[in-house]
């Protein structure tokens, strides 16, 4: 019996601790529910995009895009107010994952930043055009990493691991590799809203489920699409300095002005990690394809295939974080590289003579490229 007060104390502490946790959970759930019901402040990009696609609550949905381009009326089941808000939040997350345009990022972006390491990565950087890249005439572009086309594939077998990946798990790969961050839980709104947005896009563009569209993924550039001269780090460096350094910086660390991100990092702590498929050593065709398709802004599709592979090769050699499955030793090693290499490169870069102009013929276009050192 003398032990009774001790036991009572322990039992009370347990009950209070667990009870408090349950109350906190109730409060957090109520907060989430309130956010789900609140009106959504759209980013300028989303206002334009969702406005163009006529997203409004209603019994039926008819896509203005399809009506205008195909001169066909496609009437589908409409969206509830709850659906519309989910699509709007999803669009905001894709356009501005870091929440720089939001007044309360943790509320308006479902804490997406919690799952991203660094201050640069945003879905829109790879999934250009808020996941739906089109040219000036409204034509969807092949190999533009479209979220709509990606969603129509639904669950997809991963071509590297052979695992069946639902759309939600594919988003997680973006979080852990391309954003070098953490996996959100499958049930998290941050995943569900992006899925809702992707699904809406596919409806608005009249893409049919289970079909493969050219906009899905990136039109990759394998070595066979070049003259097979081999990927050249030195040429890649020279090209990078000529074409990319102005925005992405000498070290590829990105460019920020007055707190605004001008160009995201392609190396260093804010960039994708070694296990991302953007990494040339992991998959050598994806980053090259992205560069040819999207870079430099305003001069898209001007680089030759070999140029893109060379630049991708060079960029992938710059220090960047280790991947999720590479373990703490690799992580430490990469952190060390990221701390040591930039000052060393700065020193060597400032004293280095400009490389000689390069001459090169590629498979795709015969003209020669003159590369001048930007230093």
């Amino acid at each position: 019996m003398p032990k009774l007060p001790g036991k009572l104390f322990r039992v009370t502490v347990l009950l209070v601790a667990f009870g408090s946790l349950y109350l906190v959970a109730l409060h957090k759930h109520a907060e989430r529910e309130e956010i789900r019901k609140a009106a959504v402040a759209l980013t300028p990009g989303c206002t334009e995009k969702l406005g163009r696609y006529g997203l409004t609550p209603g019994e039926q949905y008819e896509s203005p895009y399809v009506a205008q381009r195909a001169a066909v009326r496609t009437v589908a089941r409409g969206y509830s107010e709850e659906d519309v808000r989910a699509v709007q939040r999803g669009c905001n997350i894709v356009d501005d994952s870091q929440g720089t345009l939001a007044s309360e990022p943790w509320r308006e972006r479902w804490n997406a930043k919690r799952f991203i390491r660094g201050s640069h990565a945003s879905c829109d950087h790879c999934h250009r055009g808020i996941g739906d890249l089109q040219d000036a005439s409204g034509n969807r572009l092949p190999g533009s990493n479209s979220l709509a086309a990606s969603w129509t594939m639904g669950d997809m077998y991963d071509r590297f691991t052979g695992l069946l990946l639902p759309y939600e798990l594919r988003q997680m790969q973006c979080y852990i590799n391309s954003s070098n961050g953490f996996k959100p839980n499958l049930a998290d709104d941050v995943i569900r809203d992006v899925t809702a947005y992707s699904r809406f896009l596919s409806g608005a563009l009249d893409l049919k489920i289970a079909n493969h569209y050219e906009e899905q993924g990136i039109d990759e550039i394998p070595a066979s699409a070049t003259l097979k001269q081999g990927d050249d780090y030195i040429r890649g460096e020279a090209l990078y300095k000529d074409k990319c350094q102005g925005c992405h910086g000498l070290q590829g660390l990105g460019l920020e002005l007055n707190g605004q991100l001008i160009a995201p990092a392609v190396a260093g702590p804010n960039a994708w990690n070694l296990q991302s498929r953007n990494n040339f050593y992991f998959v050598s065709t994806i980053l090259a394809g992205f560069i040819c398709r999207n870079m430099p802004p305003g001069q898209e599709n001007t680089l030759q295939h070999q140029d893109c592979r060379d630049v991708a090769f060079y960029i992938s050699n710059l220090p960047r974080p280790a991947g999720d499955r590479q373990g703490p030793i690799a992580a430490l090693q990469q952190q060390l590289f990221m701390a040591v290499m930039p000052p060393l490169l700065r020193l060597s870069g400032s004293s280095k003579a400009p490389p000689p102009p390069l001459e090169h013929a590629s498979a795709s276009t015969p003209e020669k490229v003159r590369v001048e050192n930007a230093e």
């Binding site: 039992v11 347990l14 349950y22 959970a25 989430r32 852990i176 049930a187 998290d188």
Partner: protein, 528 residues
């Protein structure tokens, strides 16, 4: 009449022995119920094989170990680290859950058993496993305890598991936040009811053995109440599910076809890792728990039991087995140390799966997660780890092992902890305690190739400063051939005398220098 008398006598015996038998049954049932969700979860989420692989490991693996391993606290069966290792080793070879993958999983298990058999046959290899010190084991136990809590968080909150493998602390933190923000409140309620019931009942000695069973029953009742009121389609509570397809035994043959040969060769290094992973845990867990229970079991017997079990299990569609820290901890906590209880748990699990599959099917997973979390919390026992903080070296070894579980994995924890412990013991050996008092140079420790430089430095300094130096190596417990040669050379130089009292009879054996000899002769002459 005779038959009636025998029946009456056996009934009386049963009645007398009932408290003991009842105790075995309660503990066995608790163990069976605790093992079941682990078996399902480990096989499906970690190893990438159907749930019956884990269940057969929980039945046949436990039974084989109970029969072959003489330790009364040893509980085998499916293991987290081994299951995870199987998933990682086989991922590059075939798609999980496929026929090819399952065949290779069985081959991997068999190779693991054969390699473990080598550890039993080659005695020095087996002895190497004894180099895991107590702080390493306790560090692992605490790490595994926390790991179990972290792993169960998502199931506790009714959420899908986070499949991220690295940075468990971050994943745990994110999972905790996910429970608070988007967790299934019904699941959390069931988990909390189970957890509170178990934790409260555990405070009372009489109810301790019943705590987990009552906790699971309370969680299941609440879950059934919710389902009746709201419908399972609204509560979305995950349950153990239908296991009625399980048979008592499911014969299988590991894949050894010519087609599979390249894959089999590719997984040989993985099989070595798997074998070591199992043996390290078995030896460490058995030694720790046997010591806590006040007994001793030769680790070679445990190696033999694991090896033979793992050679047999691939033929009954089972995952490989090794010691389970958490279930052995539970056996110890429940206070019944007996192989009968362990074997009873396997038999009871088989009976449950065969005859009560429908009743088991409704047990909610959050309740099982709560039980596993409680087990994890019980493994963090301050009384056990406090002694390690009284010695700096033990503290470092303990922390090294503990943090390695959290930041690396179990296997690395064993390696890091053992490396630290061996490094410390080596450091102690290469730095013997050498002191000069008067003209006596006393060496405590080893005289061997590693410590000689340290001894020589002080010896040469003493020789130059002190005349008639005497080297006392009475407290040396090991002198290697290089040390003997050094001592012979020192003696040959005739600058020193030696004292060695290592016979233990206080007998003095003195090798005198020339001047000492002269002094002794003079003393004897005067005495004479």
């Amino acid at each position: 009449m005779k038959a009636l008398a025998i029946a009456l006598r056996s009934q009386a015996l049963l009645w007398q022995q009932w408290p003991k038998i009842g105790g075995h049954l309660v503990v066995g049932l608790t163990l069976a119920l605790v093992t079941l969700p682990q078996a399902v979860a480990f096989s499906v989420t970690l190893a990438g094989v159907p749930p019956h692989f884990g269940i057969y490991a929980a039945i046949w693996g436990v039974l084989f170990c109970a029969m072959l391993n003489p330790s009364p606290v040893f509980h085998g069966g499916p293991n987290t680290a081994m299951s995870a290792a199987i998933g990682v080793i086989l991922l590059p070879t075939a798609a999980p859950f496929g026929a090819e993958y399952m065949g290779l999983a069985l081959t991997l298990g068999l190779m693991c058993g054969l390699i473990q058999l080598l550890f039993w046959l080659i005695r020095p290899l087996g002895r190497m496993l004894d180099l895991i010190s107590e702080p390493v084991i306790n560090g692992m136990i605490c790490g595994i305890g926390l790991f179990l809590i972290f792993r169960s968080l998502t199931t506790f909150g009714g959420l899908p598991a986070n499949t991220e493998v690295e940075w468990p602390l971050w994943i745990a933190w994110h999972s905790f936040l996910a429970i608070l923000e988007v967790g299934n409140l019904h699941a959390i309620g069931i988990g909390l009811i189970t957890l509170v019931t178990c934790a409260v009942l555990q405070q009372f000695e009489r109810l301790r053995n019943w705590a987990i069973l009552i906790g699971i029953a309370a969680g299941t009742l609440y879950s059934q109440y919710l389902s009746a009121r709201l419908g399972l389609e609204n509560t979305l509570i995950e349950q153990i599910g239908n296991l009625s397809s399980i048979r008592p035994i499911s014969p299988s043959v590991p894949a050894f076809t010519q087609d599979a040969l390249p894959d089999i060769i590719a997984i040989v290094p993985g099989a070595v890792t798997l074998a070591l992973l199992g043996l390290f845990q078995t030896v460490a867990a058995m030694r720790r728990m046997s010591r806590k229970a006040g007994g001793f079991t030769d680790s070679r017997k445990a190696i033999f039991a694991d090896a033979v079990s793992n050679c047999l299990l691939p033929f009954v569609s089972s995952l490989p087995t090794c010691a389970s820290f958490n279930r052995m901890w539970l056996v110890h906590k429940l206070g019944i140390h007996s192989r009968i209880t362990i074997a009873a748990s396997a038999v009871l699990l088989l009976l449950l799966v065969l005859f009560f599959a429908r009743a088991i099917a409704i047990i909610p997973m959050p309740a099982m997660a709560a039980v596993i979390m409680l087990l994890g919390a019980n493994m963090l026992n301050w009384e056990d780890i406090r002694p390690h903080f009284k010695n700096r070296r033990e503290t470092v070894v303990f922390l090294g092992s503990f943090l390695s579980v959290l930041f690396l994995d179990l296997f690395s924890a064993v390696l890091v902890g053992s490396a630290l412990a061996i490094a410390y013991s080596k450091w102690e050996q290469v730095n013997p305690n050498v002191s000069l008092r008067g003209n006596v140079l006393k060496i405590k420790g080893n005289i061997y190739y590693g410590s000689l430089p340290a001894i020589e430095a002080i010896y040469h300094d003493a020789v130059t400063r002190v005349g008639d130096l005497i080297v006392d190596f009475s407290e040396c417990y090991y002198i290697d051939p290089e040390g003997v040669r050094w001592l012979a050379a020192a003696k040959a130089s005739r600058k020193v005398g030696f004292v060695d009292r290592r016979s233990g009879q206080n007998r003095r054996s003195v090798v005198l220098t020339a001047s000492e000899r002269r002094r002794r002769d003079r003393r004897r002459q005067s005495e004479f």
